[in-house]
Amino acid sequence: MLTLTSPVEIWAHRLPAGVKLAAMALATTGLFLMGSPLGLGLSALATATLYLAGGGGFAMTGLRLLRPLWPFVLVVAAWHLWTGDFAGGAAVTLRMLTAVALANFVTMTTRLSDMIAIFQGLARPLAPFGLAPRRLALAMALVIRFIPVMLDRLAQITDAWSARSARRPRWRVLVPATLAALDDADRAAEALRARGGTG
């Protein structure tokens, strides 16, 4: 399965994940405290420079990750054109785009394993409540492993349906798919127990 980490290695890949996350948290807080469209415009410009410093390909990928936001940009633009509050509309749009772009930047420059290590670190204080870091890592690995298995299963169920019926299966595939997930969970549990349990 593909992650959102950029294959183009830039300088930020070499920074520790914790440092990047802390910087992102600070910058995002700053964005939400800032009200002036000018300050937000400068922040957006700085973020764009951050991306462009990573090269054209890197910046294009970053731009593509912002694409799901266009309906919101459209709605906000239409709303503020209607009310005539252009400065407010610009501030909201710039803040949204910059905050999301900054967060995407951290994701694009941090490997999945490093992010999972961060989660394990965060989970350490929760160990007395049953969320031991090892169990969390095991659960995450299970999810990542089972997503392609379940996608295959779903395709098989759909094929089996199509072989017997001219109608499309739609939601009816969900019952056998969920049932398969429950059975897989039981089998995986048995396999884990046979190998010494989850610790």
């Binding site: 919101f72 967060a103 299970l142 995986a188």
Partner: protein, 180 residues
């Protein structure tokens, strides 16, 4: 212990898989994704605690950088965007759906459908709409207007969640941990 962990993991995977099904495949002509259906099923099948944990596990993997949200979205950016309220509401929605499912004495299918409407729509919309209002700097009424576009699809999903849960209860009664 192991069984609890694998159930949580497998349902987290199920939420991801449901988000990857093409929109049009679920119901004729209605462009909806099945992701929030996965949230509802976590509650109706696994119950409150395990259902909420499965959703949290799914969100952790999204935050870690896997593009598992419907439409291939993921990474930390989605938590800084206008839909963040829905993401925060996901585990709460699963918890409330599961909690209702554990408490009610209604027949399984009806209980699952009703719990999905209250938890998976009511609770989720409170979080999602508040989130949009804050992130887009709009009043709650204006944000609610935006959020209502998804209501018909979500009601259909609650009905499907009820039907799926009922079928599971009939085929494998022991599998419904929320009713165990």
């Amino acid at each position: 212990m192991e069984r609890s962990l694998t159930h949580i993991a497998l349902f987290a995977a199920l939420i991801a898989v449901l988000g990857l099904i093409p929109k049009i495949d679920l119901a004729a002509g209605v462009p909806i994704t099945a992701q929030s259906l996965g949230i509802m099923l976590c509650g109706t099948v696994l119950g409150a605690r395990r259902g909420a944990l499965a959703v949290l596990l799914f969100l952790a993997l999204v935050a870690a950088g896997l593009p598992l949200l419907s439409g291939g979205r993921g990474g930390l950016g989605v938590f800084a965007g206008p839909s963040v309220g829905y993401l925060i509401g996901f585990p709460v929605a699963a918890f409330v759906t599961g909690w209702l499912m554990e408490r009610t004495t209604l027949p399984t299918g009806l209980a699952a459908g009703a719990a999905s409407v209250i938890g998976g729509i009511g609770v989720l919309y409170v979080f999602g709409i508040s989130g949009m209002a804050i992130m887009l700097d709009k009043s709650l009424t204006e944000a609610a207007f935006l959020g209502m576009a998804f209501l018909p699809g979500d009601i259909l999903k609650a009905v499907i969640a009820g039907l799926v849960t009922q079928s599971l209860a009939r085929m494998r009664p022991a599998s419904l941990l929320s009713r165990a």
